[in-house]
Subunit: 412 residues, 2 copies
């Protein structure tokens, strides 16, 4: 069996240096000996079998259970080593079968009706708010930040994200805005407070998020103009001048794209504008990562642009701009992981050791995927009409300048 | 038969005011009586039959032959009237059949191999250069201009287009650039002269264009650094740092998108960047307009973004930015038509009356489609790697500022 482990790992790792300590105490090296040396150890033979049968799922799981230990180098370096080699691995008929099966199951796994959506959301976002406070910025922006320059810190980059998105909404004074997937309310409050939106409705399916969002609105005296509601986007029937949706589309699921965009179309007034901010893949469509699907975002899906656009076109919405944020999420995830690791003891006290290993794996794995794999963030601006936005994109930078000027008065 | 004409036109025109004078001298009005009144006259009964059987093709054809005359209002107003009503017409089973047939033929009509591509290009671009000089800007930019503000004139907006595209190429000094579909050479010369590209290769299949491009390079003393070659993109094997392709992709044809992008990928170095500028539709995929296909751009096709992206993803290219230019081409076409009509006598002398009616129809029809229909221009920026461009799009405006400063030295 250890020969099979060796040949499988040699197939998966052709570049870099990976030393493997097997459960029986044997050692072997795979890769071409370049780069940072990384060593791993399997604690038992069953762990090795589990890894062989389904590395994509078991790799993270064995790390969580401390049955696959990083003996030299860091978890992040290990994950990067595997990512850099991904796509270059020679054919492995068994892994191909697992892969194809996952691909064919993806529509089934993403049948996110209202009940299932709420359950999926609760799985991740109803975790203790204190946990998120350990690693997010002060405003609890739990999506990709926008780094205006490479050295910008997380707090500033998250503020810049809200500013950038707001500028793209091309708000007119007094307009009504809908925020689909409002999280803990940061963006909705910014829209009302800094950008002077008329009224903002933020919706989420997370009960924990809504409690905090409501409290923050009251504390900032914005509860007259900002409403937060525990609701599914499919339940709304009001109409809005602007719709914004940040980091929520990942939970919609492929089979629901037509429903999502046609519903957004119905909610938008005829001169309406929408800004969709979502993780995507720059390569061809893929299946959802099985470990992420099981432990982090059940029912989620990261689409290629080619999978999003047909539904937009069928809904009668016009794509007016697509910005592709590359590397920004890698930088965001790095900052989150550093903050999380610095306060890991508090996280263990809140949850337990296995949870923290899961969280560390989640943040390291995603950072590596954004840095070395095809993960990106799409900011897709949509309109109903062809002529409801200015001729050029210059207004975006101009509005950012104005917002930057107004912001100092904002209470974090 | 005139009753059939009346019911068909009433189906096609529900908004606006259209008065129809039939060949027999009868008159009727269709529409809701709003807007600018327009009147048309059919000169003979056969013209009416032709229109009934295939309005999409025959409408323009009958106008060219002076068998459908505009008696009140302008051709442009007539075309707009029909466009505004398009998509709202009730079902007409016969027109549905014609439509579906065209849709199924579209792949066959676009089998643009090297020989056919050259013939298609010759059909339009090998027309007398003096004709194009009548209505294009001084630099002969025969693609959508970029209006930095609504009142900018054509000359300035075409210069702004070259500047905008060049900025998006993120050129480093001395880099090699390929211009696929170089036209009369204006952009390639700008890249070498203003943007200081190392070497530029411009390719076209039009013999008339290449002659003029070569002459211009010599006249401006740029023939050492700018090469123009009569070549198909599929024939090249050199590698380039940058590729630009403006208004050429419309001639590639749907069945060749995979070949186009995978060939571009092969021609690009690993830190390469490409800028594709093409007409597209913002709605779902459609068939090519039959009149445009027959008289203006045989073998051409205007794709939806959802039709372009799968081929990009399969080719291993990363979409790094998509700008959607709305209304810019309507403004460009308006300027071209005004210039053309002001020098129509010269155009008749160069060609003949029927040709000029065709040209007028072409420019008016396209303007109306960009203004009222779903036509837009996509500027799709592509890269091989995820990290070969700056974090934000700010460099585009910064480079434009620098280019604007250097431009005054440019010889038009």
């Amino acid at each position: 069996m250890e020969r099979l482990l060796r040949s499988t790992l040699a197939g998966l790792v052709s570049r870099g240096s990976l030393e493997v300590h097997t459960a029986s105490g044997a050692r072997f090296a795979v890769g071409d000996g370049t780069g940072t040396p990384v060593a791993i150890r399997f604690t038992d033979a069953n762990a090795q079998w589990a890894f062989l049968l389904d590395p994509e799922l078991r790799f993270g799981e064995l790390f969580m259970d401390s049955r696959l230990c990083v003996e030299q180098g860091s978890l992040y370096e290990l994950v990067c080593l595997l990512m850099i080699n991904a796509g270059q691995a020679p054919d492995n008929p068994w892994l191909d079968v697992v892969d194809r099966l996952r691909f064919s199951l993806r529509r089934w796994k993403q049948r996110n009706d209202r009940r299932r959506s709420q359950r999926n959301v609760a799985h991740h976002y109803d975790l203790d708010a204190a946990l998120y406070a350990l690693f997010l910025d002060q405003d609890r922006q739990y999506s990709c930040a926008y780094f205006e320059h490479p050295e910008q810190d997380l707090e500033a980059a998250q503020l810049a994200k809200k500013r950038h998105i707001t500028a793209k909404l091309h708000l007119e004074p007094g307009q009504r805005v809908l925020d689909i997937g409002c999280g803990w309310g940061g963006l909705a409050l910014y829209l009302a407070d800094v950008a002077q939106a008329g009224r903002v409705l933020g919706i989420t399916l997370s009960e924990e998020q809504i409690k905090i969002a409501l409290k923050r609105a009251r504390q900032r005296g914005l509860d007259e103009r900002v409403e937060f509601r525990l609701a599914d986007y499919r339940e709304l029937s009001e109409r809005f001048d602007r719709i914004v949706s940040v980091g929520m589309f990942e939970h919609v699921g492929l089979p629901h794209y037509d429903a999502y965009f046609s519903h957004c179309r119905r909610l938008l007034k005829d001169d309406g504008v929408m800004l969709l901010h979502t993780i995507g893949v720059s390569g061809p469509p893929a299946h959802a990562d099985p470990w992420i699907d099981k432990y982090i975002f059940p029912g989620g899906y990261v689409p290629a642009l080619s999978e999003i656009l047909p539904a937009i076109e069928r809904a009668g919405l016009v794509v007016t701009d697509v910005e592709v944020l590359r590397q920004h999420y890698a930088k965001t995830l790095r900052a989150w992981r550093e903050r999380f690791m610095a306060r890991r003891d508090e996280a263990v006290a809140l949850r337990d050791e296995r949870f923290c290993r899961m969280w560390e794996f989640f943040l390291a794995f995603c950072e590596a995927a954004f840095r070395h794999e095809t993960l990106v963030v799409f900011q897709i601006q949509l309109a109903v009409r062809n002529d409801s936005l200015p001729l050029t994109r210059a207004y975006i930078a101009q509005r950012e300048t104005v917002l930057r000027f107004v912001e100092p008065g904002q209470i974090p």
